[in-house]
């Protein structure tokens, strides 16, 4: 990654960045005020990632940046130059790399446990759950609930979401 200071970029000049999104390297020109969420949805047609509150309160926009879960609505794309981004569209291939089937185990578990109703929060819940399992700090049911509290589900599917995550954790299927 280039670390030398960039000269001030006037407000209307797009900046060149490189992102690897779901394994695909992309050279992009972005204005500095473009959030990662808007870049994914509006420019790259990766509309799986959802815009809920757009203020970091609901978790619907959760993606993995270099393997770490973050709110893409509170992330400027230009600040992630060089990063690897995984969205819900890329979770299945994370599973495939581990020799799993077409879906990531957490996706299979969400279906198995009926862990959603309307589905709007689901991409964020899935990415957050994968990030949480990678972090490895949550083990008990109570700890999972606490670690997933950044993802709001207005349908109230929480019980089944925790069931699905527990199932995958007990399978050792976290990626």
């Amino acid at each position: 990654m280039q670390l030398e200071q960039s000269p001030p970029v006037s407000a209307d000049t797009p900046i060149g960045i490189t992102l690897t999104i779901n394994g695909q390297r992309r050279e992009l020109q972005v204005t500095p005020w473009t959030t990662l969420l808007d870049l994914l949805r509006e420019r790259l047609d990766l509309t799986g990632t959802k815009k809920g509150c757009d203020h970091g309160q609901c978790g619907a926009c959760t993606v993995l940046v270099n393997g770490t879960r973050v709110n893409s609505c509170l992330t400027l794309a230009v600040m992630k130059d060089g990063a690897e981004i995984t969205t819900v569209e890329g979770l299945a291939s994370l599973g495939e790399r581990k020799g799993s089937n077409a879906l990531h185990p957490i996706q299979e578990a969400f279906i198995e446990h009926d862990a959603f109703q309307c589905g709007y929060c689901t991409p964020g819940q899935l990415c957050s759950a994968v990030g949480m399992m990678e972090e490895g700090h949550a083990h008990s049911r109570e700890e999972i609930r606490e670690a997933m509290s950044g993802n709001i589900c207005r349908c109230g599917a929480y019980t089944n979401i925790v069931d699905a995550i527990e199932d995958v954790m007990h399978q050792g299927g976290a990626r």
Partner: protein, 335 residues
């Protein structure tokens, strides 16, 4: 969000040099970008400091030096922090969500703005946002507002959990700016609103936080971070208590007590802490000190409940610390 210039700094000197009127430093961005979306902040230039070499957590002077860019998650899950400063770990993990803690930084946490509804609503007056425009929170919707150290211009609270622990631990903030480097004791970093509520901290323009130093004494045996809020996770404190005791048997040698959610800065009462020294660690001792602290509280129209809540939280927090049974992060029942 407004349009702005973007500068990526590679060194602290470059970052400081790029500062000017209307500029803001950005690291995690979890608060600044939120404020920009509400047009509370409209910077003409953002200086990206995420490439500065300030991410480390290192041994320093018998304590730990937390780099300003160490994320909340990296600090909370650092094994040295967990062993030697579990009060700090617990306070960090009581705040925000995992996603936010993965992005938010140590320096940025200190610079969080208040969550006062009126400050966030650019359509209303606010002395913090627009000095001299008035404070609709006084006499308005103020259930979440301050009960200590308010002024007739501002009753906002400081929102951080981490800072309440840093206050109790007597951390030191290391800054670098146009006039060089300096150290700011934590108690002098944040301000009360007074006549200049627009100033949250004593940082000078262009100064950047480079590290937060934790002193050797971490109170790792007798501590708690007790956070009381409207829902059990992912909510700001109505009242929180960071309590830390150094005990000799049942006698208190040193006590530290900082309150969150009740003032424009982490609230400490040094006289009350001194009152605890040499006393037996009993409920009677704690109740007396709690009464002494809340005697200074001043309610607003909707937040009088916080006074009794704070009184009880102080007693319970000191009991938890004395017993060596810190508040659980996942089991939210208060023992």
């Amino acid at each position: 969000m407004n349009r702005f210039e973007y500068v990526r700094a590679g060194t602290v000197a470059e970052a400081v040099g790029a500062f000017g009127a209307g500029a803001r430093f950005i690291a995690g961005g979890t608060n600044l970008l939120d404020l920009m979306k509400y047009e509370v902040e409209k910077p003409g230039r953002l200086i990206d400091i995420t490439h500065l070499p300030l991410k480390g957590i290192e041994e320093a002077n018998g304590g730990l030096r937390l780099g300003a860019l160490a994320t909340n998650a990296n600090v909370a899950y650092d094994s040295r922090v967990a062993e030697r400063y579990p009060l700090l770990r617990n306070a960090i993990l009581a705040g925000a969500s995992a996603q936010l803690r993965n992005a938010a930084t140590t320096g940025g946490n200190l610079l969080q703005r208040t969550r006062c509804y009126y400050f966030y609503d650019a359509g209303t007056p606010c002395n913090k946002r627009e000095p001299g425009s008035g404070c609709p929170a006084i006499g308005g919707v103020n259930r979440i507002h301050a009960i200590f150290g308010t002024s007739d211009q501002c009753i906002a609270t400081h929102p951080s959990d981490m800072c309440i622990a840093l206050s109790a631990l007597e951390a030191t903030v290391q800054v670098s700016g146009p006039d060089g480097e300096r150290s700011i004791p934590f108690a002098e970093f944040h301000r009360l609103p007074g006549n200049e509520p627009q100033k949250d901290t004593n940082l000078k323009p262009g100064e950047i936080i480079v590290a937060v130093d934790l002193p050797e004494q971490g109170f790792s045996r007798n501590y708690t971070y007790l956070k009381l809020r409207d829902r059990l996770s992912y909510a700001f404190a109505l009242v929180s208590v960071a309590a830390a005791l150094d005990l000799d048997g049942d006698t208190i040698k040193t006590a530290r007590l900082a309150l969150g959610g009740v003032a424009h800065k982490p609230w400490r009462n040094i006289q009350a802490e001194a009152e605890l020294a040499g006393k037996p660690a009993t409920r009677e001792t704690f109740a007396k000190v709690a009464d002494m602290i809340v005697a200074e509280a001043k309610p607003q129209s909707e937040n009088g409940f916080k006074i009794e809540l704070a009184r009880r939280a102080i007693v319970r927090g000191l009991e938890q610390a004395a017993a060596g049974t810190p508040q659980s992060l996942s089991d939210k029942r208060i023992q």
